[in-house]
Symmetry: C2
Subunit: 248 residues, 2 copies
């Protein structure tokens, strides 16, 4: 089984469009282009890289597929806002055992997120706290309006991660929160009540710069969710086993 990401690059680099994509990518890095910047024209790139315009076009398509570039309708091709960040970067949707994936992610959350909350309490700025309060209240509104709060719940955890001032921690949250709400019915009133109370406790501890309390509140919040997830997966597995039993 191929486990190392870096090996993939080599394989892909073989084709001409792939090598062209690689060169355009280098150009973006060297010229420090950002999402404010338009990509040089196909014509310029073809001249610069000594390839045909068709090849440039194929190279651009590859970089659009990987969210390095984005096409803004009627405006042209630009650098993406978070270049190279892709939805589902580890291919979780293709995992055959989504139950196990959810439990393994819950284990990582239990380890990582209490630390994130502690770091957040230590490093949050006033601006971070404003965003966190806002994010907390958006989740509460979702819950009170009986709407699916899962997306805004992830954003609340990202807002906490931003308080750490670590560039990468906020990027890890969407990965480790994948699948957590996949099996937990969001209409379960237990979950909804705990979410409101748990989030408030975490928010208050971070606001008070009480790192120990923030860590504990987060640990409790994550453990609650993990226990609920385990309970629900046990139930679903039992149902699956029974239904496959009757079909024999």
């Amino acid at each position: 089984m191929k486990e190392n990401f870096f090996e993939n690059i080599k394989t892909n680099e073989s084709s001409l469009p792939e090598r062209t994509a690689e060169q355009i990518s280098k150009l973006i890095i060297e010229r420090r282009l950002t999402s404010e910047d338009k990509l040089p024209s196909e014509f310029e790139l073809a001249e610069l890289l000594h390839v045909g315009r068709g090849t440039v076009r194929e190279g651009i398509k590859l970089l659009v597929a990987r969210n390095v570039l984005e096409i803004r309708r009627g405006k042209g091709t630009f650098i993406a806002s978070n270049p190279g960040e892709v939805p589902d970067p580890l291919g979780f949707t293709y995992y055959p055992d989504q139950f196990r994936l959810a439990l393994d992610l819950a284990e990582i959350r239990s380890q990582l997120e209490p630390w994130v909350a502690r770091m957040a309490a230590e490093h949050a700025t006033e601006k971070n706290l404003d965003e966190l309060r806002e994010s907390c209240s958006v989740v509460e509104q979702d819950i009170l309006n009986e709407q699916d709060h899962s997306k805004n719940d992830v954003l609340f955890h990202i807002a906490i991660a931003k308080c750490t001032q670590n560039l990468v921690v906020p990027k890890l949250i969407p990965i480790i929160t994948y699948a957590v709400t996949l099996f937990v019915s969001l209409t379960e009133s237990r979950l909804r009540t705990e979410t409101i109370i748990g989030h408030r406790e975490i928010l208050e501890a971070i606001r008070d710069k009480d790192s120990r309390r923030a860590e504990q509140a987060m640990a409790q919040h994550i453990e609650y969710n993990r226990a609920l997830l385990e309970e629900i997966i046990r139930k679903l597995k039992k149902e699956q086993a029974e239904s496959s039993g009757t079909s024999l």
Copy 2:
């Protein structure tokens, strides 16, 4: 700034090839296709998805670019080994401040990897231990042969992560080890000596199923690397400041 991965999906989904890619992806998941499996033909897919063969071809290209599919020369289009896993999934190469990125990653490693070593000591199988021993000796051979050991060093840390039996932990290692060796000169004899000793200590603790010792040995190993990284980055920043001073 767009921070949430999931938002990207919506934007991309607008084009027909993108929607076709999405449908092919669903088909892979529903039929539980693996890297053993060939993708159905363009003709079949066009019939099934009610789109033209040109659109199917564009959709396939998108999924190849994202490493969901791979073209095996002379054999056809197959599901990739680790579908959806891409090199540099968080777009680190595009970060403008690589120094800060490296330090932020080192902070995450300090928090995560000692826990990984502890879990490894608790859950390693005999097969895991064989792989770990082998991986440890490959790194030592690199060092003794005065070759760049960074790639095999990452593989050693992945081998430890596999001992945890958690599906996701091994996938996080290539992310958090990115950039760590970017500034640390691998020819520094201090680093090379510490790597051999540190890796052996971790290996022995995991072999002895001594989770506390494994955690401590890993913490020490990571802290050593982190201190060295900080020292080198301080030096590089000072050099940069001086050279930009003289150019004024």
